[in-house]
Point group: C2
Chain length 164, copies 2
DNA sequence: CTAAGTGCAAAGTATTTGCTTAGGA
DNA sequence: TCCTAAGCAAATACTTTGCACTTAG
């Protein structure tokens, strides 16, 4: 069970639900719970992690359902999938504005970094110079977080390499 | 069969071979051929594509061997793996200096964009501000290339989304 | 009522691993 | 000769799909 007293979270869940309904999608209890999870977590959880939590309230829920709903939300642009090669993808249901990721290679923490003007400018320059039409960009910065530097390990979502 | 007359390519192949030998690795004909392929291609091929080409000269070669050798070369830092979620990873054996990628969403073309000073500066700022130790960064810019804009489709390595 | 979603199991991809044989140094 | 690499097959990990049953609207 997740506490969803925060009015801000409640509001965003409502909005997401509305958007799904507009699309002709049904708002099942499972989906609602998934929306709440996505919106109230700020750790970029994996599908598996979302599934584990959902499972507490819906013991019969399957991972497939989680993936299916995430697929819908990705299409509507309401969640962002952050894939790392073979490692399980991480999902962000909070931050829709363009941003970079700061990622700890050891514990897998992902922090959203609001985009800076230079980066957008860079993308625009690069694409126009090459005759491309710009769609999107992705910026990941890999490092070691303060905790892991000190050895206070709280291993959770280890990411080995940048490419894979 | 690949033409490897280019002295520049030849030199880089030699260098890579030398580095492998230094590491106590053996320079088998298969590996040599793979090195040549990697160095002489500028299209960021997939493991599968490398395998297909290798196969022309070594009909018994297996994909596993390609992956194994690529793994070694990744470790030595001589090739860069560029993973895109579930899509097959692409490998770059030419450009080792830090760079961004300009990627066509339709045909999968990947162009290396030499890094600009602002980007490195951005990463440095972000990490130090968060107490992280910087390891590396990855910058992918997604768009539609001029050919695909015009419908001159030569589909090869389609990449659907940025995240996955 | 009925199209969409659930949940199970099975299939799919991309990559890795184990193990036996071959061959480079 | 010795020990790493090749090559095959099987395993793995994440994600998607097919289908019969359920349910929100």
């Amino acid at each position: 069970m997740i506490a969803t007293q925060d009015p801000k979270i409640h509001k965003r869940v409502e909005a997401l639900g509305e958007r799904l309904r507009e699309r002709g999608c049904r708002l099942t209890p499972q989906r609602l719970a998934l929306l709440r999870l996505l919106v109230s977590s700020n750790t970029h959880p994996t599908a598996e992690q979302l599934y584990q939590q959902l499972h507490e309230d819906f013991p019969t829920t399957s991972l497939a359902t989680v993936y299916k709903t995430l697929a819908v939300l990705k299409e509507t642009g309401d969640v962002l999938e952050v894939g790392f090669g073979n490692h399980p993808s991480r999902f962000d249901g909070n931050n829709l504005s363009p941003h970079a990721h700061l990622i700890c290679r050891d514990c897998g923490e992902i922090i959203d970094i609001m985009e800076n003007r230079n980066l957008s400018e860079f993308s625009r320059q690069v694409t126009s110079r090459s005759g491309y039409r710009l769609i999107s960009q992705r910026i990941d910065i890999f490092g070691i977080c303060p905790h892991c530097k000190n050895g206070d390990k709280k291993p959770s979502n280890t990411i080995i390499n940048q490419g894979e």
